[in-house]
Every structure is written in C-alpha cells, then in structure tokens.
Subunit: 200 residues, 2 copies
C-alpha cells in the first residue's frame, strides 16, 4: 500500500484544513498515512527562518481571512480560536506516543477538532484530556508516557529528520523523496503517493 508521511505541527493554522480532510482523501485513494508529529520552531530556527505570522502584520491578517474562506470553500467547519499562537509541545509529545501505539491519527483529528470548532485550545490540559478521553485512553497514563525522557528525546529526534527531508513548514507531506508543503498541496501529495506523480 502506498504510504504518505504527514508532518504535523500542532500549532499550525492551515493544518486544520488538512487534518479535517486527509483521512477521507487518502482512504478514497488507498493511501496509508505515516504520521510524523514534530515541533516546527527549532526546524525553522536551523534554517534562519523566523515565526511566519508576526502579530499585527498584513500577512497574519490575510492568513485568518484566507483560512476562513478556504474552510468555507472546502466545507470544513471553522470557528476562529481565541488562543493564538498556542504552545503545541505537550500535544506533540502525546502524539509521539500515539505513533507508537497506533492512535496518532484519531488523536490528531480530535485535538484539532476541539481547537477549531469548540475553542478548546490545543496544548491545554483540557484539550489533551478530552481528546484522549474520546479515544477511550487513560489520559493520566498517556501523559506520563508522553513526559518520559525517551519520548521527549524521540520528539527532539524529529527535528533532525525534518531538516534532513528539507522541511521548513507545516503541514508537509513526503512520498519517495518528494516534498509537498502546505494544505494547498494535499491533493497533489495524495495523488503522487497513489500513482507516483501528480497527474494520471
């Protein structure tokens, strides 16, 4: 089964459009997902890139309007969250546990859904509790595994792997050495995984 690596940063705004759609899009094309949670700030720092959406900038104002408009176009529910930016580190650590235990996708979908439709901020204790509850997991036990030294190291290791793949933003998709950046490239990445190139 063709497989697509999905590199997810949990504070990324456009990633909501991807998380809300990727399960259905890949199921339709028979593409498996290899979830790769990571923490983007150190990756961008290594590449001399700053935070992409400075407060009060025209670019940031555009991002919010574009996101709302794209969500409407794509039929993705959208409620602008009050919290921005959020501290995604606790969520990324939990997601790393999920990659080993097979529930990263369901957790990611639920954590993002709570943030983007219910205003329950990604990174908050409530978001983690509710997302893990929804999966029928013992939240306290999962968070203990998430905060174990080896799990923290595993997440740090994702930074070097991301840099090696040429990543600089999120969401990113990788299939057989081909990198696709941004929700705008989701369909192309899935098509590349399914058939080895963008067009049939």
């Amino acid at each position: 089964m063709p497989t697509l690596e999905v590199w997810i940063e949990y504070s990324s705004t456009y990633s909501w459009l991807t998380v809300a759609r990727i399960g259905r899009l890949t199921a339709e094309r028979g593409v498996a997902l290899d979830w790769q949670p990571f923490f983007l700030p150190p990756v961008r720092e290594q590449q001399g890139l700053g935070f992409p959406f400075p407060e009060g900038s025209a670019k940031t104002a555009y991002m919010w309007r574009d996101l709302e408009r794209r969500a409407a176009t794509l039929g993705v529910p959208f409620r602008k969250p009050e919290a921005y930016p959020v501290n995604s580190l606790p969520t990324a650590r939990v997601a790393m546990v999920g990659t080993r235990e097979g529930w990263c996708q369901r957790f990611t979908e639920e954590a993002f859904r709570l943030h983007w439709t219910e205003g329950c901020a990604i990174g908050s204790d409530e978001n983690l509790q509710r997302a893990l509850d929804a999966l029928g997991l013992d939240a306290a036990a999962v968070r203990e595994r998430a905060n174990a030294a080896e799990n923290k190291e595993a997440l740090k290791g994702q930074t070097a792997r991301a840099v090696q793949r040429g990543l600089f933003g999120a969401p990113s998709f990788v299939v057989e050495g081909e990198l696709f950046w941004g929700d705008d490239r989701l369909e192309e990445a899935v098509a590349w995984a399914a058939q080895g190139k963008v067009r049939g």
Copy 2:
C-alpha cells in the same frame, strides 16, 4: 463587467504560473483585468518582512522543485532560468507605461514568456527590447517614457496602494476588498470576481 486587480512583481517566480494562465481563465469567466505593476521589496520592508527565498535555504530549494512540478501539472512551459533573483525595476517601470497605454497584459505575458521559456532574463535590456518589439512598439521611445520622473513616481505610488490593500507578496489579486495571495488562489480570485464568492 466584473474586474479583478492583478498585482504583479516581475521578479516573482510563482507569478509565471499566473501570467501564463490568467488571460484564458478570465476570458472564460467574463472577468476583466486591471493590471497593477508594483515593486515588492519596499512593501515587504514596510511590513518587517525580508526576502522570502534566501539563497541556499530549504525553502528556496523547495520553491524551485514545487514550481517545476506545478508547471507540469498545469501544462505551463517551464525552463529554469539561470538568472535569480533578477532586478525587476526596469520592467515594472515599462509595465506602468503599459497600464496607461493599454498594453500591460501583452507586455507582461511576453516578458515572462521570454524569461521562463527562453532564458532571456526579465529586467535585461534584451528582454525589454524583444518584448516591446513583439508588441510592435518603439522600444527606445517606450523606455524614455518609462524613465520619466512622473512614471517613476507613479510606480512608487503603487507601494502605498499595495500596503493599503494589505498586500505582502505576489502575485496578489483584489476584488471588492477581498485579497487573494499566490498563484494557488488564482482560480478562487477569478471565481470571486465572476460571481461574488468562491463557490457557485
């Protein structure tokens, strides 16, 4: 007739995909084009944004690969130019003359085509000469009008107008206060102009 403002920076790489497609896409939808040449660096400077594609960065490497892949997907001819970045100022000044004299679109299409399919660099004397020749214009006379003080001032005035519209990159499209940034949003911008929103 609904009208779409097209903000063009002549050194922008992704703008080739737009320039190669916008004439046909808008003609199909009955949308008129209002060409707005501008010089992007001072706009980004005012917004605290640097050059988006630093030499040797992962982001720049990705841009070239993505551009080539997108061109293939969209059926746009593409030959990676040797010259990058180019000095687009002389071309922007000529294009400003074109907005007053009604040939900005044809000039833009030809200047970009020469750069992106024949390696004749935008901003060079040869590119300007050949593009203006192709339009049947007196290149020397046009360039004299382009270098007149009032034309230079007109181009400088575009910076303030761009900032007023919330622009920070190119290509950008504006219709009734709605801003769309990037070739990725070309279809949405044309749809918005044609019917007042993205989806019918």
